[in-house]
């Protein structure tokens, strides 16, 4: 009987336990709810900020080599920057004619790199050929500009050039590049050792999809005579009717805003305005509930000096 008397709990004991447990459960539930809202909110904010950062990184990176003074910047509008994107550099291994140039192999037996590419050249790309002239100094230096025609690999194409070793570089492959058209006056002779810079027409474009703005990249395919399929680069950005989520604006070296459209050579700075908004409504304790808007202005100096 004494054992039986000790089994179970009294009603007040159970009530106390249930009350304490209930209070603790309520506290925990509130804390969990607040925490889950915090996690969801910070994630939404971080994603929106991440898109801002993406735009801030991508646009300066692709524009790094574009020089308005070299006519690399073609068109700038509030949602479009069209320019010559540097795809690589090479060296002319043998003096060329006005219709063809021979590029040294990308690397030679000594390990020296004579060409560097982010994208291999193709017909339609532009070549800027540096002619150092006959005089010392830069007084007679100039750049020739040409549109590329066909490109073929030529075994031992640079034989006889001082850039390749006649023994160790036997069997090397050189790129023979035909000139489709000269932009401006044609070069009469392309000097041996001339540095060649190659660019491809590229668009950084803000486009709208499902009511949101995105940043995309597309390059010009001269063979098919059309822009390549737009490659999404970052987004979404906050599109307000009449005001895109990303806007571009050009100014000159005096800070004067240049008219939208075809780029004048005096462009010195590209201003970029980016606006993002959290994908979901944010409810973080201590912050006003609602969609969180973020904006950023970044200035990108264009290569002119």
């Amino acid at each position: 009987m004494p054992n039986a008397r000790r089994q179970g709990r009294t009603l007040p004991e159970l009530l106390v336990v249930m009350t304490v447990s209930g209070v603790l459960f309520a506290l925990l539930s509130a804390a969990f709810l607040g925490h889950s809202r915090l996690v969801a909110g910070t994630t939404a904010i971080a994603e929106a900020r991440g898109q801002t950062r993406q735009a801030q990184q991508i646009v300066p990176a692709v524009l790094a080599s574009a020089a308005p003074s070299a006519a690399d910047l073609y068109v700038v509008r509030d949602t479009l920057v069209e320019f010559g994107y540097a795809i690589g550099t090479g060296v002319v291994c043998l003096a060329g004619t006005s219709s063809q140039l021979m590029l040294a192999p990308d690397s030679i037996a000594s390990g020296q790199q004579l060409a560097s590419w982010t994208h291999p050249p193709r017909p339609g790309d532009l070549a800027y050929i540096y002619d150092p002239g006959a005089l010392p100094g830069a007084s007679d230096d100039r750049w020739w500009t040409a549109a590329l025609g066909g490109l073929v690999w030529v075994p031992n194409g640079c034989s006889g050039s001082p850039l390749v070793d006649p023994v160790r570089d036997v069997g090397h492959r050189a790129r023979a590049v035909s000139i489709a058209a000269w932009i401006g006056p044609p070069a009469t002779v392309i000097p041996q050792g001339a540095i060649v810079r190659f660019t491809r027409r590229l668009r950084v474009l803000v486009y709208n999809s499902s009511g949101k703005d995105y940043l995309g990249l597309s390059d010009w395919d001269p063979v098919l005579a059309r822009w390549s399929v737009l490659q999404p680069a970052s987004g979404p950005y906050d599109a307000i009717p009449g005001t895109p989520g990303i806007q571009f604006r050009l100014t000159d070296s005096l800070g004067i805003v240049l008219p939208s459209g075809t780029s004048p050579p005096g462009a010195a700075l590209l201003e970029m305005f980016v606006r993002t908004r959290s994908a979901t409504s944010v409810r973080i304790p201590g912050m006003p509930p609602g969609f969180r808007a973020e904006s950023l202005t970044a200035n990108i100096a264009l290569r002119n000096r």
Binding site: E13, V20, L24, L38, T42, L254, G255, I284, L296, A301
Partner: protein
């Protein structure tokens, strides 16, 4: 005999008393609440990270604006863009100008200041 005595001892200790369970629940809840109350810490880190990013973009933008400015118009000066203040110095090194930008602003929601510096050289041929 010894076996039955051991079983009796063990049976007396099986399970937990109500008080023990209650104390365990309270402790467990306290620990969970402490863990869940890291929200302010997370928010502070988020704010701080955003401040750092904005300060670096601001200093880089200032530097790019200076790089894009005509040499004749390059001068040392100050500026501000909430919550940051900035100063920049232009040093003439004959055919080159050295540009130094310093941006300072709060490190967190408190007023602890932090500065961000950026420098570059630009070609400015002497006339």
């Amino acid at each position: 005999m010894w076996y039955r005595r051991r079983v009796r001892q063990l049976s007396r200790h099986v399970g937990f008393s109500l008080l023990e369970t209650l104390v365990a629940i309270v402790l467990f809840t306290a620990v969970l609440l402490a863990l869940l109350s890291t929200g302010q810490f997370i928010l502070a880190r988020l704010y701080e990270s955003d401040l750092r990013f904005r300060a670096s973009v601001y200093s880089q933008s200032l530097l790019d604006s200076l790089r894009a400015t005509a040499c004749a118009r390059l001068t040392s000066s100050t500026g501000a863009k909430a919550p940051f203040s900035a100063s920049w110095a232009v040093t003439d090194l004959l055919d080159v100008a050295r540009l130094d930008v310093a941006v300072s602003g709060p490190q967190r929601s408190t007023t602890v200041a932090r500065s961000y510096n950026a420098s570059t050289l630009v070609s400015c041929p002497e006339p």
